[in-house]
Amino acid sequence: MSDWQNSTPADDWTIDELMIARLAACFADGDQACNGMASFVPVSAFWLARLTHAPDLVWLAGAVGLEPRPDRVPASTLEAPLWRDSIMYVEQFGDFWNFALNGRWLTKFCVGAAQLDRYGNGNNSVIGSDYHNPRVRLPGTAGLGDMGSIGKALYYWNPNHNPRSLVESVDFISCAGYLGGGSERADAGLEGGPELVITNLCVMDFHPETRHMQVASLHPGVTFEQVQEATGFELPAPEGQLPTTAVPSAEQVRLIREVIDPDNMRRREFGG
């Protein structure tokens, strides 16, 4: 039994470490994972999984560097220091999308979205009602507009759970979730879809029939009322006691702080 399995729960974990450990638990041996821009939480989660329960999780850094060996999480998750010592450079046009579109590989994808709605639709395009005359121009869909439509299991991470980022309906769908809920996604011929939403307050999943977002577990010390207060739509009332999200182990916390991200790059995603 390796150290991380023996390890007792950490008593000084912080919320970034809890989110990273929870996201890491979503990835297993036999999976392939890739990251995009500004993705310190997913990158740390993949790395943590590889150091603990999923040593054979394949990581395609920046969607270009296969099995990299960076010495720590660098200031950018889309620059060459992240894919140091890769075993292969995957050409982004010729190869990456062949692997991602094929269906056999890269079946899980982590999504950060400026807006996420109750049916798991993501928006990184525009705020406002008119796409051509937006109130706020967001960065753009990049790969999300593909990943939402090609059968991937989507894992949203949101370090700043608030009513502006978790909304009743997104202003514009740039990443397809369950669309209008119910069977709408399946009716559109789309497989896969949103699995989990991991925020700084809780973990949420989607009702198997209505496809409405619902709280799956509360982080330690957080109440359902606090989550509701911070959410821009009405959450289904929990049936009975909600479980508490598992806290990271002392060894997981040590790995994150000392091995993976000693420069605390992950903290840059919080407090925005």
Binding site: L78, E79, F93, R137, A142, G145, S149, A188
Partner: protein
């Protein structure tokens, strides 16, 4: 006998006309042909359409200079340095029209352009609102009876701008081992005119030593220019990292029109040529730090 392609930065940039659709190599803070972008602004180019995968500081500078009025791309962001604020402002003011595509849709549009096809399909974007707002994307029944796909209309940029490690005077382009983006895989092949800046112009014998690293053939390249540190302040792996200080200076300047004008004067329109630009941003000492990837 091969055709001479070697020219100067001003002459190469003059191949771009007002109103052209210009594909620009760039991935957030990586690998943009910045020397060419600055020269286009110096020459006062107007009404450009910019095609990019993830456009960073070149898009923000072109927007700030009023040189562009449309963008076709998957995202615009300087990643850790945040959104491109001048671009964003211009879009919100209606001065830049955005055709936002997913990565596979952009690749499909360019791929169709490269192969002289009317369109190529993708399965991406189905279910999103991006199809409804874009006349270049149309849902299409699979003629073989499978699920519907999105037809992505061919895109043929007037010009593609690329930065490379090595080129010979005949336009053969050599790359050093590094991650490759669609900028090289498809953009130049779709474009009518291809302009390449290179860190160094080398003898063809150098390219012959590693033909597997030649990424573009001379016959499809119209102009090559020697521009050492030509991607600065973006990174150019494996040679040098991005310049954090310049990115931060730009981000700071974007809050204020006078500061933007001062930045433009100092770094874009002020320096007489690329060599003077490199001195302005710190010369050999700065370059040594960037080569060590010290800020990354």
């Amino acid at each position: 006998m091969s055709v001479e392609k070697l020219t100067t930065l001003p002459e190469a940039a003059a191949l771009v006309r007002d109103g052209d659709t210009v594909a620009i190599q760039n991935m957030a803070t990586q690998a943009a042909p910045m020397a060419l972008v600055r020269e286009l602004i110096r020459q006062g180019r107007r009404e450009l359409g910019v095609v990019c995968l993830v456009g960073g500081i070149p898009v923000d500078l072109l927007a700030a200079a009023g040189a562009m009025n449309r963008l076709i791309g998957a995202a615009v962001s300087m990643e850790q340095f945040g959104l491109c604020q001048r671009y964003r402002k211009a879009v919100e003011a209606g001065a830049i029209r955005v055709e936002e595509l997913s990565e596979t849709a952009l690749n499909a549009r360019l791929g169709a352009g490269a192969r002289n096809l009317p369109f190529l399909p993708t399965r991406g974007l189905i279910g999103t609102d991006l199809i409804d707002v874009n006349d270049n994307l149309v849902m299409l029944d699979d003629p073989f009876g499978g699920p519907s796909v999105v037809a992505c209309k061919a895109l043929v940029p007037d010009v593609a701008l690329v930065h490379a490690h090595k080129a010979d005077r005949f336009g053969n382009i050599g790359y050093e081992p590094t991650a490759l983006w669609p900028d090289l895989g498809i953009m130049p092949k779709a474009a009518t005119t291809v302009i390449v800046t290179a860190e160094e112009i080398v003898d063809s014998e150098i390219l012959r030593a590693n033909p597997d690293r030649t990424v573009l053939p001379g016959f499809m390249v119209d102009a090559v220019v020697e521009a050492p540190y030509g991607a600065h302040p973006t990174s150019f792996s494996p040679r040098y990292g991005y310049d954090t200080a310049i990115h931060l200076e730009w981000i700071g300047a974007t809050r204020d029109d006078d500061a933007v004008a001062a930045f433009m004067e100092k770094y874009v329109t002020g320096p007489a040529d690329h060599a003077e630009y490199l001195e302005t941003v710190g010369g050999a000492e700065r370059q040594a730090a960037l080569e060590a990837w010290e800020q990354t």
